[in-house]
Amino acid sequence: MPRVTVHLYASLRSYAGGAPSVEVEIRPGQTVEETLHALGIPSDQTRILFVNNRAAATNQPLQDGDRIGAFPAIGGG
């Protein structure tokens, strides 16, 4: 099974028990959004997404070894 690493930033870490990253198995062609949902992360919590350090859409399919970076939008000021 292909595996990807999901790096979670700021408040999103609570979805991985506080860990900064988590490695997960995916089925071939699984999207970014599906992968985050599998971790229990709601779509509206991940406003900024990158795959392999490049901006990514939620429906981007993933490949073995990909690294997802997921950030919340920080709105205070």
Partner: protein, 349 residues
């Protein structure tokens, strides 16, 4: 008495920063001839205004709709207890302090709510906009104005011990809409009032925003960061995320297609004072509020009740009634600015 000669040619007070070669005297003179808009004067905005005025930016326009409150003083560096006691508008209080700090800078305070009717006028003549706002609706509006008018702006946000900042050079680097593809609906994003805020992260974010603004205003655009900076002070992390490819990959409605619905008033909030009820109604176009999620965020912050149709939240003598379509009635005030502040504070957006 120190020599505080206000003449624009007197650069003595800036000698330490002019000694830094990338700035130099030429950069300092450019700063002195430039104008900045500080949009929002809370924690980030007061720190930004403080830094830009001390640095000698020629003219600093400050716009904010709020008054100084006691719980601001922990992090909003330009204000004091006297401002709280006298209920001074933040823009005015900031201007009074800033004029004492650097009388050679033209400080222009404007007490107003930034919306689609005034944002372009507020931007008139400015060379950079720095983000001191506390909500994404205003940021999306500012982003559209900046892109349309071709004015660089520097996004910044902070919460808890975390922050983000990114400089936007219209036509050259990704805009906020490239980075965040949809304005977060009200109730989905924590605010400083629901999640808390530590002052040091404000200083870090605002300082990065300020140096980007100084680079832009002093003629050093090449030095402007092409990264999203993500700060997690509690966990000792500061990261630079390369966003250089975002403009190509995002197919952004704002900066690729020139669509400006926030500027046109087709997105964002509208207000109405409810006569005789001591209440203000705020409506938001095209949003959905998840009342369950909002209830979770507000738990423990005030008196909370809800049913299938609405959520009611009482705090500090005010009553916020929030509906799933984003509409809200703010009871206990007939002041629109106060109502918007309460909405931004507890519902977000």
């Amino acid at each position: 008495m120190p020599d505080t000669d206000r003449g624009s040619d007197n650069l003595d007070r800036y000698v330490r920063q002019m000694r830094y070669p990338p700035l130099g005297e030429e950069g300092q003179r450019r700063l002195g001839a430039s104008r900045a808009l500080v949009c929002g004067c809370g924690a980030l905005g007061s720190m930004l205004a403080n830094t830009l005025v001390r640095a000698g930016v020629g003219s600093v326009r400050i716009v904010d709709r709020d008054f100084v409150e006691l719980n601001n003083l922990q992090r909003q560096v330009l204000f004091d207890e006297g401002d709280v006691e006298n209920q001074v508008p933040k823009a005015i209080a900031a201007a009074e302090k800033l004029r004492l700090i650097n009388s050679g800078v033209e400080v222009e305070p404007i007490v107003a709510d930034v919306d689609h009717t005034n944002i372009e006028a507020l931007c008139e003549g400015v060379d950079v906009i720095v983000d001191g706002t506390d909500n994404f609706e205003t940021r999306f509006l500012v982003n559209e104005a900046a892109v349309k008018l071709g004015i660089p702006w520097v996004y910044g946000g902070c919460l808890g011990a975390e922050g983000q900042t990114m400089a936007i050079l219209p036509g050259e680097t990704p805009c906020l809409h490239c980075l965040i593809t949809e304005c977060p609906p009200p109730g989905t994003v924590p605010t400083c009032d629901t999640a808390g805020i530590l002052a040091p992260v404000v200083g870090v974010v605002a300082s990065i925003q300020a140096i980007e603004a100084i680079k832009i205003l002093s003629g050093n655009r090449d030095a402007v960061s092409r990264h999203l900076t993500v700060i997690e002070l509690w966990d000792n992390h500061i990261r630079q995320v390369d966003v250089s490819g975002l403009r190509q990959s995002a197919d952004c409605p704002t900066c690729r297609h020139g669509q400006f619905p926030w500027l046109a008033g087709k997105r964002g909030g509208h207000t109405a004072v409810l006569c005789g009820r001591n209440a203000v109604q705020l409506t938001h176009t095209g949003v959905q509020v998840d009342l369950d999620e909002l209830a979770r965020r507000l738990e423990g912050l005030g008196q909370l009740s809800r049913n299938a149709f609405l959520l009611r939240f009482k705090v500090d003598g005010y009553e916020l009634t929030v509906f799933p379509d984003g509409r809200a009635i703010i009871g206990g005030t007939d002041d629109i600015a106060t109502a918007k502040t309460l909405y931004a504070r507890y519902v977000g957006s």
